[in-house]
C-alpha cells in the first residue's frame, strides 16, 4: 500500500475514496433531517484535502462516513474498492484499525496515561507484542518530535504537544488515510501552523492521504485540494497550486 500511496500523483491511479450519491438522513417521518443530499466525491491517494463549510453543511457527516464511523443512508462509499456501506460495525472497525488514523479537535488522549502508551494504543488492537509496540510508538513520537516526552501524561503536556501525540497515535500504524477533525481548533495560530507543517510533512514524506476538516482558510491553504460543502452537497472543489506556502 505504501507503493500505491507513493505513486499518488500519477493520473492512472484510481481514487482511494469514492462517494456516489451518498445521502444521510437523521430521524424519521416529518422530523427527519437530510444532512447529505447525494454527495459524489473522489479523493486520490496521497492527496491533502481540506474540507470546509459552515456548520450544518454536511462536512462532519461526510467525515464520519469517510472515517467508517457511520454509514450512508443510501449511495455507495468505496474505500480501496471495498463497499463500506455493506460492512457491519465490526468489519468497519477492522477497516479503521488497518487503514485509518484519527486526529480530533479535542486531542482525545487517554488521561493519566503516558504519551507512549497513548501512541501504542492502536497497536494493542493490532495484537503487536510489547517490544514492537514500544519500538513503533517511539518511532512515531520521534516523527512528531516528542520522543523525549514519552513518559509524560497529557496533563503535563501543552495543547500543541498533546495534538502532536495524537498525530503520533494516528500514524503509528502507518495508515493509508489520516482523518483530522479541526486539528487546530483548540490551538493558537503559532501552534496551529506547527501542526499543519507536521501534517504537510507527513503527507509529502510518507505519502499518507490527509483529510482535514477546518473552518480556517489559513489552515486550508496548506491543503492541495479544498472541498467546500454547502447544504448537504459539495459546492465546489479548489486546487491549491502553492500548497504548503504561508498565505
Amino acid at each position: 500500500m505504501a507503493a500505491a500511496a507513493a505513486g499518488a500523483a500519477s493520473v492512472a491511479d484510481e481514487p482511494i475514496i469514492a462517494l456516489r450519491g451518498v445521502t444521510k438522513v437523521y430521524g424519521e417521518g416529518p422530523t427527519a433531517f437530510e444532512a447529505l443530499k447525494g454527495v459524489d466525491l473522489d479523493i486520490d491517494p496521497g492527496d491533502f484535502v481540506a474540507v470546509m463549510g459552515p456548520s450544518g453543511s454536511g462536512k462532519s457527516t461526510t467525515m464520519n462516513i469517510l472515517g467508517c464511523l457511520d454509514v450512508p443512508s443510501a449511495g455507495q462509499f468505496r474505500f480501496k474498492r471495498v463497499h463500506v456501506e455493506t460492512l457491519d460495525r465490526d468489519q468497519r472497525a477492522l477497516l479503521r484499525r488497518r487503514y485509518l488514523g484519527f486526529v480530533f479537535q479535542g486531542f482525545n488522549l487517554l488521561s493519566r496515561t503516558t504519551a507512549l502508551e497513548n501512541v501504542e494504543l492502536p497497536l494493542v488492537y493490532r495484537g503487536e507484542d510489547r517490544k514492537t509496540r514500544q519500538r513503533l510508538g517511539m518511532a512515531a513520537l520521534e516523527k512528531v518530535g516528542l520522543d523525549k516526552w514519552w513518559d509524560h501524561t497529557p496533563a503535563e503536556l501543552s495543547g500543541g504537544q498533546q495534538q502532536r501525540v495524537a498525530i503520533a497515535r494516528a500514524i503509528v500504524t502507518s495508515p493509508d488515510v489520516l482523518l483530522a477533525d479541526e486539528p487546530t481548533g483548540n490551538l493558537d495560530s503559532e501552534r496551529s501552523v506547527e501542526i499543519m507543517q507536521l501534517l504537510t510533512g507527513l503527507n509529502r514524506d510518507s505519502g499518507i492521504t490527509v483529510l482535514m476538516v477546518t473552518h480556517e482558510p489559513e489552515m486550508a491553504a496548506f491543503a492541495r485540494t479544498v472541498i467546500h460543502f454547502k447544504d448537504g452537497l459539495v459546492e465546489r472543489i479548489d486546487r491549491n497550486h502553492h500548497q504548503g506556502e504561508r498565505v
Binding site: 464520519n64 460495525r89 472497525a93 479503521r96 484519527f102 482525545n108 493519566r112 494493542v124 488492537y125 493490532r126
Partner: protein
C-alpha cells in the same frame, strides 16, 4: 491481548482504589460469611458426631416410656428388671452384651468437700458395650457385683471436685449415708451432644444402687451392645418383639418402651446441623448477590465516566468484543479480588470463633474454592450488562461525550 486487558483492568482498579474497595465490600462480606458459616457448621457437625461417637456406636438404648413428648395421662409404663435383661441376652440374636442401669442422685462427701452428683448402678458390661476407659484403678470384681458391695468408679468431674489433684483410688467417700471405696477413675468424656456433663457421675454395682439408693429392683435403662456383624435395625426389631412379649402387649397396642439407636441419633443430629448450616449459608449467599449488584452499579458508572475513552478505542479500531472484554475482565478481576479478601477474612473469623464455639478448626479447601469460583461468576454475570453497554456505544456519540 488478554494479558494486556488484565493489566489494564488492574490499573483501572488501582486508579480508584477506595472506590474499588467499597465496591467489592459486598463480595468480601458475602464470601467471608458463606465460607465462615459453612466451615463453622461443618466443625459443629464434626463435634456433634464426635461426642455421639464417644457414646459408642452400635448401641441401642432401651427405656420404658411411650414415644417422645407423650405427656400426662395413663399409668407410667413399668421399668424393666433383671429378668428382662437376661431375656434380651438369651433371646435376641446379635446382642454382645447388655448393661442394665439404675439411677439415683446423691451428695458425695470426702474430707469436707462435697459434690452433688448422679449415681449410676450397672455391671461391668457397661464398659464393654461402650468405649470408656479407666485412668486408674479397676472395674468391679464378680464378687463385688454379686454381693452388691459398696465400691465405686468415679467420673472425672467428681474426682476433680472431691480430690483435686490427689489420688482418688483407694480412698473412701460417702454418698449420702453410704460409705464407699473408690476403686477406679474414668477418663474424661466431655459434654454430651445434648447438654449435661457425662463426667459428673459415680458408677457402682447395680445391686448396691438398688438396695441402698433406689430401694427397688427396677432397671431404668438397658444399654444393648450390638455385635458388629449384625444389622442394628434387625436386632432392634427382634428386641422389640421380645420386650413386647415380656410386657404382654396385645397386637395393636403401642410399645411402652423406646429404643434409641445412637447411630440413628447421630444421623438425625448431623442432618439437622447440616440443614441449619445450609440455611445460614444461603442467607449469607444473598449478600453475595447484593455485592454483585454493587459491582454492576459501579461498572455502569465507570462506563459512563469513560465514554470518551471507549469512543477513542472504538475509533482507532477496537471491535465491540474487545471493548466488552475489557470491561468484563475488569468486573471479574474486581470481584475475584473481593473474593480473595473475603477468603482471608473468613479464615480469620474461623480462627477466632472455633475456640469460642469449642469446635475443631477444619480447613475445607472445597468450600473455599467454590466461594472463590462464585465470586468470579458474579463478576461475569453482573459485569456483563455494563460491559455490553460499553461495547454497544456509538463511537461518534461517545467521542462527543463531555
Amino acid at each position: 491481548m488478554l494479558a494486556t486487558t488484565f493489566t489494564l483492568a488492574l490499573r483501572s482498579i488501582r486508579r480508584h482504589l477506595l472506590r474499588s474497595f467499597l465496591t467489592v465490600l459486598g463480595i468480601v462480606i458475602g464470601v467471608a460469611a458463606v465460607v465462615a458459616m459453612v466451615t463453622l457448621g461443618q466443625a459443629t457437625t464434626a463435634a456433634v458426631q464426635q461426642s455421639i461417637a464417644s457414646l459408642g456406636t452400635n448401641i441401642l438404648q432401651v427405656r420404658p416410656g411411650q414415644g417422645f413428648g407423650r405427656g400426662g395421662g395413663g399409668a407410667r409404663p413399668p421399668d424393666f428388671d433383671q429378668r428382662d435383661v437376661d431375656a434380651v441376652v438369651e433371646q435376641v440374636a446379635g446382642v454382645k452384651a447388655v448393661a442394665p442401669q439404675a439411677q439415683s442422685t446423691a451428695t458425695a462427701i470426702y474430707n469436707g468437700a462435697n459434690w452433688s452428683t448422679t449415681i449410676n448402678g450397672t455391671t461391668n458390661d457397661y464398659f464393654e458395650v461402650q468405649p470408656w476407659n479407666l485412668t486408674g484403678g479397676r472395674t468391679f470384681l464378680p464378687a463385688e457385683e454379686a454381693a452388691g458391695r459398696a465400691v465405686c468408679i468415679i467420673g472425672n468431674t467428681v474426682r476433680q471436685n472431691l480430690f483435686r489433684e490427689q489420688p482418688a483410688v483407694g480412698e473412701r467417700i460417702r454418698l449420702n449415708n453410704v460409705s464407699c471405696d473408690v476403686i477406679g477413675t474414668l477418663e474424661t468424656r466431655g459434654q454430651a451432644g445434648f447438654g449435661g456433663d457425662q463426667d459428673d457421675v459415680v458408677i457402682m454395682p447395680i445391686k448396691t444402687v438398688q438396695r441402698r439408693f433406689t430401694g427397688n429392683r427396677d432397671v431404668r435403662l438397658m444399654l444393648v451392645g450390638v455385635d458388629d456383624n449384625y444389622d442394628t435395625a434387625q436386632v432392634q426389631e427382634s428386641l422389640t418383639e421380645v420386650l413386647r412379649e415380656r410386657r404382654r402387649l396385645e397386637e395393636g397396642d403401642e410399645d411402652n418402651f423406646n429404643i434409641f439407636d445412637t447411630a440413628q441419633i447421630s444421623a438425625t443430629l448431623t442432618g439437622t446441623t447440616t440443614l441449619l448450616t445450609s440455611i445460614v449459608a444461603a442467607v449469607a449467599g444473598i449478600s453475595l448477590v447484593v455485592g454483585g449488584i454493587g459491582i454492576m452499579n459501579i461498572m455502569l458508572v465507570s462506563v459512563t465516566e469513560r465514554t470518551r475513552e471507549i469512543g477513542i478505542r472504538l475509533a482507532i479500531g477496537a471491535v465491540a468484543r474487545e471493548v466488552l472484554l475489557q470491561f468484563l475482565v475488569e468486573a471479574i478481576v474486581l470481584s475475584m479480588l473481593g473474593g480473595l479478601i473475603g477468603l482471608v477474612l473468613a479464615q480469620i473469623v474461623i480462627v477466632v470463633l472455633t475456640p469460642i464455639m469449642q469446635v475443631p478448626f477444619v480447613f475445607d479447601p472445597q468450600i473455599n474454592l467454590i466461594a472463590f469460583a462464585i465470586s468470579a461468576i458474579i463478576g461475569v454475570v453482573f459485569g456483563f450488562f455494563p460491559a455490553r453497554r460499553a461495547a454497544s456505544l456509538n463511537p461518534i456519540d461517545a467521542l462527543r461525550h463531555e
